[in-house]
Symmetry: C2
Subunit: 288 residues, 2 copies
């Protein structure tokens, strides 16, 4: 039987429709446009393309996206000044520091400089701790929020489910595990040092793979009835295609539901970034 395809592109379209109306209504009523500032330092081809995607999506729902492109040899102090000025700029609701940064810049220091209330990537200490203590008011990293939103859009409840997260990065694996835990799933976190990873994946209800290695999950790792979320992104420079962790052709015929790459978690990440932005915007509107 063909599996249910967890279509991130379609879900993005479905949900963004409401966001576009929401922004439109607010602007009509005389509120300012929601505004996202993306700070990029230096040049990175992948970053250029990610930023283009964010800008395109943001503008499609009426959000103003400022792309602040700083030269690669800029000093840390100058980047800090830029971030601080965005922190205090009331017309800016969210700030992203596009990663990776040029090597000599202190990533952690610059991320921490973003005011937590505008940290729509959910990377500052305060937002990490917010997710950690299960607060509803913190900003959750967009990929993790996107995964949960995708599951919910297809009426897949995670409460009481066995979720296996593969990958323990601070950007994806850990926040996704914490978010699933907050949603009352039982969560196992596997990684490069886990022997016989198939003993975990075969036992799971939901497999979330965030490894970044094509064909990491094959027919060997899955069984019927499972939900598979592919968070991996590997750019095949030869073929110029983007590949997930999951061997889709092999795995899709076996499982109950699967998110493809491209067109799965990717569009959901962009969507959730702007959901975070509108959360900030809304709180601001309420506060005024």
């Amino acid at each position: 039987m063909a599996p249910l395809i967890l279509d991130g592109k379609k879900t993005q379209r479905d949900i963004s429709e409401g966001m576009r109306h929401f922004v439109n209504d607010h602007v009509k009523k005389g509120f300012v446009n929601p505004c996202l500032a993306i700070v990029q330092v230096g040049d990175d081809k992948a970053s250029d393309s990610y930023i283009r995607n964010k800008k395109k999506f943001g503008e499609s729902i009426g959000v103003q996206v400022l792309h602040i492109h700083l030269p690669k040899d800029i000093s840390e102090a100058e980047v800090l000044t830029e971030i601080k000025s965005l922190n205090t700029d009331e017309s800016v609701h969210g700030i992203i520091l596009q990663l990776p940064l040029p090597r000599d810049l202190n990533k952690e220091l610059l991320i921490e400089a973003i005011h937590h209330s505008k940290d729509v990537d959910g990377l500052t200490s305060k937002n990490v701790k917010g997710l950690w203590v299960g607060s509803d008011k913190s900003l959750v990293p967009a990929t993790s929020r996107g995964i949960l939103t995708l599951l919910k859009h297809y009426n897949i409840d995670v409460r009481g489910k066995k979720v296996v997260v593969i990958g323990r990065s601070a950007l994806v694996g850990k926040p996704t595990a914490m978010l699933m835990l907050k949603e009352n799933a039982t969560v196992s976190i596997c990684h490069s040092e886990t022997p016989n990873i198939e003993t975990y994946t075969l036992d799971a209800d939901i497999i979330i793979s965030a490894v970044g290695r094509p064909r990491f999950i094959t027919s060997y790792h899955v069984r019927p009835g499972q939900i598979v979320i592919d968070v991996g992104i590997t750019i095949d420079t030869m073929d110029k295609v983007c590949k997930g962790d999951v061997d889709f052709a092999e795995v899709a015929p076996i499982v109950k539901a699967i998110s493809p790459v491209p067109g799965g978690v990717g569009p959901m990440t962009v969507l959730s970034l702007f959901q975070n932005l509108l959360d900030v915007y809304t709180k601001k509107v309420i506060q005024l």
Copy 2:
């Protein structure tokens, strides 16, 4: 066969011997005494006893322990002022805010007021994020550090092991899971919403139970060869005894190793708190 008893009291004694010498040497060389400040607000019987234990242990290794006992009707602002003055007091190396606080005080706000470099309980955002990103420089909550130290003291390696943590509190469950993950264990986090918890515990190499319910782990949950760490503490007010989560009489004859309550994780928590303090102290000494 009788199991190996993971004796926290003995381990505390073994390790504290070295700490006592360390402090003694430093003081002899003319360095200031390490100093821990414990801020207590109001009265709580359990807190009184915990503070007594900490004071007694600290003084046994030559650490000065300041017990700052504030009245229960003190204002939040006054507690803040106290914490801030301890932050800037160079003779104070670590600060603990003894929990629980009287209800009307904002716990999170007061914890965050502690400077992260003196936060020997590892509860501030910066230290949570430090553990999250796997930094070696952050202060890890004492119970979690104590569990790892106990395992290491008995030469139990967690790398590549299946660890099941039961309980997802921000004080114990989550930091313990993150610390085990950092040590390259594969970690599953179970909780009140996990159905058939025995499917997890029976599959584990190491079970860490932090639930706070006596007889939560019985012979039904374990098999030969396993390591069981009991973090639960329930004070039986009738019998005036302290009970763990594990039915020791039932479980001990089955498993390979087990930590008792009392005398297991409890003494290790006190030990690790002062290991954290000496870490702060040493860095200070180096910085001077």
